[in-house]
Subunit: 216 residues, 2 copies
């Protein structure tokens, strides 16, 4: 199988999962700033036009970051980033949904409708008047999580999971795009610092990250 | 295990999955209009304050609709609403994400920030100025899906899946809350009519639906 990948927080999420699992996959790199993910050839494979996408050996395309990670977990179960039992997987998925629906989707859309608008306005329907509210809503989501995380090292339990990886990649990318890290949320700050110091975080950065000054 | 459930499109999604699988679970009904899902007792179990939630025998809470459905699929794999193989599950999950991130999340948030605002403004951070844009964005998501669905009976393939159930429950609920069905999207209209005529759709409606005049 082949991974269609690029710079960006969602491709980085898949890279982090692969590193945690010790996987390497044949990869085709696309330049999203040049709009290669909106080319007819790519849109034919993934009509969502988003990165990344996994092309299976029979030609089937699995697009969308989380389904790709779920698929990799099914093929290479250990070490688990979702869970080793149905109950572990259920709890991780619950935290992942809380992270995505209360925090990261609002952060990404807040970015798309403001800082990302010049590039994205011709690619998708944008709602500029929602940007400030979405960023504020995401802050309240992070505050809620800060209060819930307690003394756990990781969001869903005592091991790093897809919930940590998704939130980390989003916050690390958005901090370089106008959504600074929260100095007033100590538990979440401690969690971020811990994630940020992991070797997986460092080695998952795209080769263009440094030159761009954006973690992706 | 015990299901904490109520009126509403997300609890209905779980009900439809249970009916498809021929499952019945011990259920405790909460009155969300009276705010029972925001009581200290329920918030202690599910700090998200949302419905439904599944309480396992050891006291573990699995909240969030999709993780509950994934868990039920793991325990009771057939008939599958996600898939019988890793590849089938990957493809269904891809379509589910497309449905949720491009359509249903925008429809629900459009509802929460407009028609739902009087009840919800004291329960969660609302963005009233985003409501119209979110509804428009959801329309473009439905139009995109209409063009993609082609001649398939179901969204993710030749069998009903969680992607159909999630979209159907959302559209059926929102049509009674200001987001009317699209007369200009023939493929999606045909899909909706087919879903709406299924016995599962009918028997999954909450007992209060008729009196309220809202499908949930």
């Amino acid at each position: 199988m082949k991974l269609h990948s690029s710079f960006g927080p969602n491709p980085r999420t898949v890279r982090m999962v692969m590193i945690e699992k010790g996987l390497s996959l044949a990869t085709e790199e696309l330049d999203i700033y040049a709009g290669e993910n909106r080319s007819p050839a790519y849109l034919k494979k993934n009509p969502g036009g988003q990165m990344p996408a996994l092309e299976l050996d029979d030609g089937t395309i699995v697009a969308e970051t989380i389904p790709i990670c779920e698929y990799l977990e099914e093929l290479y179960p250990r070490p688990a980033v979702i869970g080793e039992t149905p109950q572990e997987r259920a709890v991780t998925r619950m935290w992942l949904r809380r992270v995505e629906l209360n925090i990261t989707e609002h952060m990404y859309n807040g970015f798309r409708y403001a800082e990302g608008l010049p590039i994205l306005k011709d690619r998708l329907y944008c709602i500029p008047e929602a940007a400030d509210g979405l960023k504020k809503k995401a802050y309240f989501g992070r505050k809620w999580l800060n209060d819930l995380i307690g003394d756990r090292t990781y969001i869903a339990g005592d091991r790093v999971s897809i919930a940590d990886i998704v939130l980390y990649c989003c916050m690390d990318y958005c901090k370089d795009n106008g959504q600074v890290l929260d100095a007033d949320l100590p538990k979440l700050s401690k969690w971020f610092k811990n994630m940020n110091e992991s070797s997986t975080a460092k080695s998952s950065l795209h080769k263009d990250s440094e030159a761009m000054g954006i973690a992706g």
